[in-house]
Amino acid sequence: MKESTVKRTVSVLAAIGLTVSLAACGANKKDTAAAPSKSAAKQGGTLYILPDAQKQSFDPAKSQGLAITSLALVHRRLTTWDVQEGKPTTVVPDLATDTGRASDGGKTWTFTLKANVKFSDGTPITSADVKHGVERSFAPAFSGGLGYHKTLLEGGPDFRGPFEGKNLSSVETPDPKTIVFRLSRPYGDWPWVASNPAFSPVPKGKGAEANYGENPAASGPYQVAKYQPGVEMRLKRNTHWSKETDKIRGGLPDEVVFQLGQQASVTSKRLIEDNGDDRFAFGASFVSPAQLAQIQGNPGAKSRLVTSKTGAVAYLAINTQRIKDPKVRQAFQYAVDKTTYQVATAGSPALAGDIATTLITQGINGRQQYDLYPAPPVGDPAKAKALLAEAGQAGGLDNLNLVVSTSNNFPEKAQAIQAALARANIKVTIKTLDGEAYTAATTGPNADYDLALSSWQPDFPSPNANLQPLFSSSEIGKGGYNISRYSNPEVDKLITEAQSTVDPNEAGKKWAAIDKLILQDSPVVPLIYTRNSFLRGSKVADFFIADFPAYPNYLKAGISQ
């Protein structure tokens, strides 16, 4: 509690981690019995997307969007993700011809742009436009987007964007097709960082206006046709986008319409009923447990439910600045009941996701399965009590407060945790805060909580994005997501070391070791790898969720006839 107030800089990594609440949408298991002949998406038609947000913006600097959701319909980046069912997600070239060439031991990265890539007004995209896009993300007015690059680029921490007459010298454009990034330290995951939204081109000199995201210069298959906040965002084709240079985006529907401000429960109801235009729609929010239960009894809707195989790790964060004894924290590992948590999350373990015992999520390269605190799925309250007694807390713990966000059923999940901890004489009061207040309370400088419930999906499929944002001491209290306020100099050192390892397999081994090392100190209790479920209308095809991320691929979805 006594941290001095740190300047609230736009924290870089913090932004990154988007919590899983970002809407995404879903995909599907193929229609099996329901649709004997698998219908494939055809060219044409209008695809409807139903998010719960009132606004929709395509500002790359402010976006935390995944490379396969809304923003990628309009913008291309230097690199992007190849997301396919049954295959690991890989980083692939998008505007660039390759995923970057490292020199200087991973400190300098060079990209070359493809020929014949154009903005929606027909002007060719040059390296200066990409540089301008990157620089723009440093402007305080356009903060809030994924910011892994902001501390990594040399001079980044002091740079305030291109609109104050200065440029970032560590991004060089020797010719219109070449762009070079000079980093302050070696960073093996730079090809993934180059797939972040800020690496989308913005025409040099443009984008100074606050509402740039409402009608940006498009490089992807679509551009904005019409935008009415709270009503709809309508996208039409960008005729200067060509499939020749873009193997990743399907660009199948003629139009994509976001119907804004759709309450999640209403969305599910509409999609279950599957009438009119809703047949061509999919929901961008998670299907709630109550609706999942309803869908289980409705074969038609069940065949249109798409559930990811795995997903974000849901965890109970223990504020290590308040609960300082690792023994006490370890007691939580045994006290929780992961079964009731699964049921509270989605009604059944199959829909909720597997029990988690590691910090690196399933499907991430380098992950090693281990369990430092073996216990039955319902927990081991006796063992928890014994650990508390050893730590001199035989009477249990009283008056701990647990903060949760009101979104995604977290209050109900918190009650499952509360009831489980009570078995080990750990008495917890739940404090629910709405989304923004929760983020401010947990990531701000004053930590007025003992426990917090959260979940984390890495921003790119590298263990780096699992561990660094949550456990690096630089992510405490300045907007970063180290909400257990875990600070271990040894871990910090190893994280920097693993980050600078360019070879992914070698890096993977290092990350796996860090994973274990962190969990020995028990700053968080991993609960489950949360599956996400999404619903689609009957005419939406090629709507699937791959191994990573646990969100549907918007880029391939289309309409079947």
Binding site: S348, A414, I430, T432
Partner: protein, 307 residues
Amino acid sequence: MAAVTASPARSVPAAVGRALRADRAAAAGAVVLVLLIGLALAAGPLTSVTGQDPYTFDTSALDPATGAPAGALGGISGKHWFGVEPLTGRDLFAIVAYGARTSLLIGFAATIVSVVIGTVLGALAGYLGGWTDRAVSWVADVIFGFPYLVFMIGLSAVAPASLPRELLLIVLMGSFGWARIARVVRAQTLSLAARRFVAASRVMGAGPWHVFRHQLLPNLWVPVIVVATLSIPGKIGTEAALSFLGVGIPPPSPSWGRAISGAVDWVATDPMYLVFPGGALFLATLALNLLGDGLRDAFDPKTGARS
């Protein structure tokens, strides 16, 4: 206004008894209310019959495929009289019974706070008149028009977690609910103050406190009880509304409002989850309204007793 025409200090219990005998609806309300109070008081022994409590999760009572209650009608069985709560398997009868405790406790306690504030301020305004009267009437007007639900939501969000939420709700609802009582008491006091027994007392040298205690109060009980009875259901409803919105009684303390809020999502799959807590809230507010209406009809000559 000659609201009180009988002898100055008639016995309140006897008057209530007469009113109930005369009005069947009010009597039915009183019976339901007594039953609900009994349920609240005996929540512990009643739930221990089946070995249930409102806190323990029991996933074995749930359908393993969906998390909805296993069995028909929300899982009603000899063990779970009202079935169980989806996703948790907690006993719904225990939740409703312990929830009655929360609702009635808060409803009654907040009303007592309102009655104390309203009676004192109303009597002061009516008896002293002048600027006291103007100030009280003005504040009461403000409170009538004040969007206090919004205010309470805001305050609940910033109140420290260490402050007992029940106490906060009681104090808040109590201090926003006295205006109507103050108005009724003020009007009554104005008419009483002009009466000879009050004048006589004053002439003999009695101070305002003595007059209030011994001359006014005995004549104010009946109208106060009527207004108070009618205001309890509103307070129970407000507590339920706040809990429904997630800023009322924090979990795990059972609350009808929170149960109803959870049940709304489940209406299509498990309607019984809404029926029981919703029914309890409906019965409690209906019973108190019937009782209050009956008492008002019996005591207030202006409305004309129906029988």
